[in-house]
């Protein structure tokens, strides 16, 4: 019963098969292979827009490279105070940008709002004494398992444009967000004003594959240089691209994400039947945030359930996070619920 993280699970069999298929014969290294070329075309169809795509192996690399391309070293980046770039990447954005400043902004459900950013901006009016506001970064889905709809994104984009800022989306769980929204990828990306997307696959069945996707190719050359000097230009690139290709094929990415989301929903429904448990965030993607009595937490762990305490125990209750992968066994969800209800 592992609900620690979607990356505690391995790779989907289709991903491994794709590696084998990509392994025939020689290929130009550094992304000049046929698979990488095909991948770009396929993504353009899926997103209904020209784009520049850069496969990398971690979400941190994708985020940091994307932001470094959009934000000068003297720039400021507005992000949620619980966002991955703010608290889980060991200041990788600061490293890759050459010292840009992340403004940590509060917001319900780990979501940014125009009002929240507008308030934060009032602290950035010092001319050169403050960093130059340069980008907004949102997570889709968020670190609390919630999802921005197209209107929310467009409102943030409008503010960004007005202030001369770019809009970055950390899509480590982009498929899960789409699975919830049930809309086209374009609707919540470039059509809503997103300039660059960190397109995740590792948390949703891939082995080690993410991609930076720019919706304006003018950034391509800069990203290429930055990826190389960041040590993120994998020589046998075809094996990263092949994962992404298999991921997209037959809409696997969406069906896998829906499976993970359904696990979360099923679990949430079960938890709701226990009055001692409070689910504290809307369950929209593949994560549940809920407070449990500490005694129940201890009992679940004793029975083999694994999950993270999201906040330290307080007044006898603990906020825990449960994460679901497409590879999470349905039986584990059922068994966890049995433990909860018994």
């Amino acid at each position: 019963m592992n609900f620690l993280s979607d990356n505690a699970y391995g790779a989907a069999p289709e991903i491994l098969s794709a590696l084998g298929a990509a392994n025939s014969g020689v290929a130009m290294p550094y992304g000049e292979d046929a698979v990488t070329v095909r991948l770009a075309k396929h993504l353009e169809e899926i997103f209904e827009h020209e784009l520049a795509v850069f496969p990398v192996v971690t979400g941190t690399a994708a985020n940091a490279l994307a932001l470094a391309t959009l934000v000068p070293p003297y720039g400021g980046i507005f992000c949620h105070q619980e966002s991955h770039i703010a608290v889980d990447e060991c200041a990788a954005p600061e490293f890759f940008t050459g010292g840009a400043k992340l403004a940590h902004v509060a917001g319900e459900h780990a979501k940014l709002t125009p009002a929240g950013i507008a308030e934060a901006l009032t602290h950035y009016r010092g001319g050169v004494h403050s960093s130059k506001p340069s980008a907004i970064s949102i997570s889709q889905a968020t670190e609390r398992g919630t999802v921005y709809n197209a209107d929310e994104i467009a409102a943030l984009s409008e503010l960004a444009k007005r202030e001369g800022m770019a809009l970055h989306m950390d899509g480590a769980r982009f498929a899960n967000a789409l699975g919830y929204l049930d809309c086209k990828p374009a609707a919540v990306t470039w059509k809503a004003g997103v300039d660059v997307l960190s397109f995740g696959a590792s948390k949703n069945g891939a082995l080690c594959a993410e991609a930076v996707i720019f919706f304006d190719r003018k950034h391509a050359q800069e990203l290429e240089y930055r990826r190389k000097r960041g040590g993120h230009l994998v020589s046998k690139m075809r094996f990263i691209s092949a994962q992404l290709e298999a991921y997209l094929e037959n809409d696997r990415w969406l069906s896998w994400a829906r499976t993970a989301n359904q696990h979360a929903l099923k679990m949430a429904e079960g938890l709701a039947r226990n009055a001692l448990i409070e689910v504290v965030e809307p369950v929209q993607a593949n994560e549940i945030f809920a407070t449990f009595p500490d005694s129940l937490v201890a009992k679940l762990r004793a029975a083999g359930a694994q999950f993270y305490d999201w906040r330290p125990s307080h007044n006898g209750r603990t906020l825990v996070r449960l994460v679901f992968s497409c590879l999470t066994p349905e039986a584990d969800v059922a068994r966890f619920l049995t433990l909860v209800s018994s």
Copy 2:
């Protein structure tokens, strides 16, 4: 007939099988999995020394992370003027170190010598006006396919120690060097004074796997932080470690490297029979550097041979590089030689 690069070839079947084997069940992410733990132990046996090992996916990442841990931002790094860190990594060492200076030093066969570095050091006597000499970096095998023996390394190490510098080894083709030297790994690393090794596997049959190996664990924590913020902490680390484990198992790494080296030797012997061709560097690892008449270059390419011009054509002759992988078909070598001799 692809002699462009060892990374034009794919992955050895044993590497792909290892990915499948590593894919069973859940595992702690970020290197806390069982495979990664086993890998460290295995490497300690192979190197006969305690060590700290950090799997990453590119040689550039391995080099840059290793150097950033040893060299302050105000430091100077002495390397060969043709070394990979000097000319093929888009200034990744400068990026990861925060702006250290690479001193490009000349030397026959792409090898550094104590005399060469001593001469370069005379330009670094300006106190704080110059960078602080902090590390020597050597490539084993070198970018010209040559190999340092243990005494040569020890002599460089002695100079390094005397000047308060660390010694880094770029071992993207370390197995090929060992295959030539036919000695134990310890003999040309820590026993010869090497502080940190970029241990390559991708060019010798792996899919995307390299490792930073420190022979003093005191550097471990710093490297861990730097790897994370460089975006090089792969979440499903077991899949990188599994490649390295399979690579080491049954001394595959050494037998694969010997195969590649033998291809090079066989080709070199064949080329020697053509008086119009001059092999200009000792063939010690898996690369050949030779000058060909331009007409022969054209004929070979017309027949489907792929290889890089290492220097532009000059006086009707071109310096070309031929690289061999353990996966290079023996028939390709034979066919190339037939073309050369006909």
Copy 3:
């Protein structure tokens, strides 16, 4: 009536005279001159401790260089959310450290407390996913014109030591703080656990002179390199050092600071007589933070008073800041009070 900033005033006549005196004959450049050597000795007497001193021309340089020497690029720095390094230096600490993370901590009167930092530390328990807590930085006097006493500093230092962090003091207004505390410099620096002090003079009568002061000389070499590559090694250093020497001579720095503090106290007493004005921070150094009715703000400005709005107008009242220099004419204070009371 200029209460905008202590740096709106020029230099004290004694400082200018010192420049003239330092201008006789030749001198070794880059800090190897006699004045700089004397300065170091004088500071050691004043601080009753061996130290390494590095004159620079701005407080931002002093802070950023000091922090970069103590904090690795992957480090975290705990500072008040209103501190100069957090909001007024355009992310210079992030630049000089190579991307360290500033954790903005709240606290009354712009002061940090052990409890506040302990709370912030709970967000830095992610191993390499978070920055490594590396330093606490306090401002003495603070950005709200308040002053830490020796016990408060010692308590922060104790926490710092326990957590493996260094303690930095931004002393842009250190003389003003000492003037209030009426204690020896040692009592609130190294004796209280401060590792490095940014010793300010520009805001208190100097032309352009600050100094980084380390209380452990082991950091000296690193700071020297960093100062040079930051472009902060002034060639004719004697002219910076001469300002600092004149500043210290005959305890001028302390008497000047006391003059500025007395201006602030006198103004605060006067303001207290107007029930419409609320002084919102203890007046301990040379700054006053008070809320005024907007109508009064307008009237004062119309009469020629200059000062900054510290927060935008809210409910008809504005938080303003009034700053006093030793060079502020006493008549200006009197005239301002007359305007306020009429």
Copy 4:
């Protein structure tokens, strides 16, 4: 007899007087004062072009800030292998640019040529594996006391433009170069294709004053941010600007430079009368490079002459550098020549 460096001398009296004059009353800090505004206008008249000017206190800061604004972190900068940015600034350009690569290019008389750069460029054809060629940086006058004429600069500019590179001029001794060329400042700057000039004054009579001058104001905002976060925005800026204003007034800068140049010429003429001395570089600015018998070097030093050995003694002779300031006493030149000839 001090010929060590032009910065071993102090400040001209007119510079010190200007500081006193600037010290009357209050002034807006951070460059919004009247002197700084006037300075910009005066420089526009002198250069006959709109420009953006940024006073700083060191040449290293001017160079590093200028280059960081023109060159991306993944960029390459072509400079002479003996240039100040290459060997005397402790890798400040690498620091400020975020890790750009300096390509050290050879060239007679410490001057770059289009042919030299074209050759160097052949090593930068690796796509993203090499840094992106982004700027050429020349020193005017050079580190060997030689001077580029307008045609030489235009030829370099032409190459720069063709390759998409900017052209930077390190003018630490710009006045000395102009004094030699006897042309208008415009002729060897923007009219010859220079994008940005590090305009020096410290080596020619100022106390601590240099300026970054962009001939296209579009770079102004970026430079402002970079200057602030580099700690180079001096709060009481009027005192830096006042030095530059006094420097320019009545063409003092040019007459001072001519004085220094004349010292050099007079010395060179005298040295030429001693057959044992060989002046090895054309004497065009305020420096002499000459080889002396070691015995003569010893004799001169014993008599109190101070100067640097530029290269270690070789075959009984040493290459020495003699530098002249406008403040060098004429008697010192005469006395040195007497020693040489006796």
